[in-house]
Symmetry: C2
Subunit: 225 residues, 2 copies
């Protein structure tokens, strides 16, 4: 039979993964709102962010209580600390989804650059795939998988550079595109940051499994990449 | 006489504040590198970021050990959890200083917009003031001061909007300004995010003192501001 503590730990695990799914949903909706020029969907993302923030607070509170009352050690404590730290990463990914949603509202009534929107969708697909794999690696405590996922971030950065180049080109040749170009570049930057947060998550999976803090962000270990 | 635990807690406190000062220095250097067109200083910021990342890992490790070995409760545990969580915010502020440093390198050999650089300096001065006050509020566990600081973030956002408008205007009238305008807008966004992280820090000061998680970010409580 499971102890009360084990049940609580399992609940924490589940509630953290649920937060991951909420954030995943927010990112998806924000990017869909951009691609489909859907301000209502963007408003929904902004409105729902409170739920994500509440969940982070809830996880912090629960983690604190579990540490204070049960005084866990070694791998149990490590799991609680992981939830404490990694929930900040999830919350910030949610914030970036909100920023993209605000960009959608700013784009309303302005001309669009279809080629850029297609590239943004491609970046999103890569971010989403990485994020899904990171959550899976977390659930299965698979440090090896987590290390592999982090390496895929460079593909995202290549696409981001492509978006920036294309936007600059369009803005240079058509001054009517300056505002939208600037907004698209911001959106690309939000997605790039999301990739970085997914890597943070992967680092936490490694920590969870091996008890060691690792730096998996290739851009940080080789700053000139 | 102080117990060993109290000494360790005091050390953690000090090492966290030191991390704050390291980040403060990085931001200052990054913005100075931008204003003075000094790529060498920018390289220094990029190079030194590893020290900030190492300090975060070091604080995590120490916090974990203190929780595991000493099993603190109530306000002592709260302080350790605060360091655990808030060190992520500091680390990310350091990352944004690095991003600004990369922008400085990108700007090399390109035309500059002096009026924008002046506004960026103004934003920086506000961010720096807020950050200094937040670190002080942390050291003095002054929740009231922390709540006040957070309200100043709106001034930063006003300046950011001004920078964005000015850049868009310049880019529209002179296509040679498109690349630099895009870079300046990114820098403005990094500084805006730093303001948000300072607010997070303020929220942790409130938590430290009152044991309650607060939402001090006006943009989040009133998303349409």
């Amino acid at each position: 039979m499971r102890s009360e503590f084990e049940t609580e730990l399992q609940n924490l695990h589940v509630r953290f993964s649920e937060m991951g799914m909420m954030v995943n949903e927010a990112i998806k909706k924000a990017v869909m709102a951009l691609i489909n020029h859907d301000p209502e969907l963007a408003q929904q993302v902004i409105h729902n962010d409170q739920r994500i923030n509440n969940r982070e607070m809830d996880l912090e509170k629960k983690s604190f209580e579990m540490i204070a009352l049960q005084q866990p050690v070694s791998s149990d404590l490590r799991m609680i600390v992981t939830v404490l730290k990694a929930s900040s990463d999830l919350e910030r990914m949610g914030d970036h989804a909100v920023s993209i949603a605000h960009s959608v509202l700013q784009l309303q009534g302005k001309p669009t650059i279809e080629a850029v929107e297609k590239l943004i969708q491609q970046v999103y697909e890569k971010v989403e795939a990485m994020f899904g794999q990171a959550i899976n690696a977390y659930l299965q405590e698979d440090a090896k998988a987590a290390t592999k996922i982090a390496q895929r971030d460079l593909e995202i950065d290549q696409l981001i550079k492509q978006i920036e180049r294309l936007c600059v080109e369009k803005m240079k040749t058509d001054s009517k595109m300056v505002e939208v170009g600037t907004i698209y570049v911001s959106v690309a930057n939000y997605l790039e940051r999301m990739g970085d947060y997914v890597i943070n998550l992967c680092e936490w999976v490694v920590y969870l499994k091996r008890g060691k803090l690792a730096e998996l962000n290739v851009k940080k270990t080789k700053p000139n990449v």
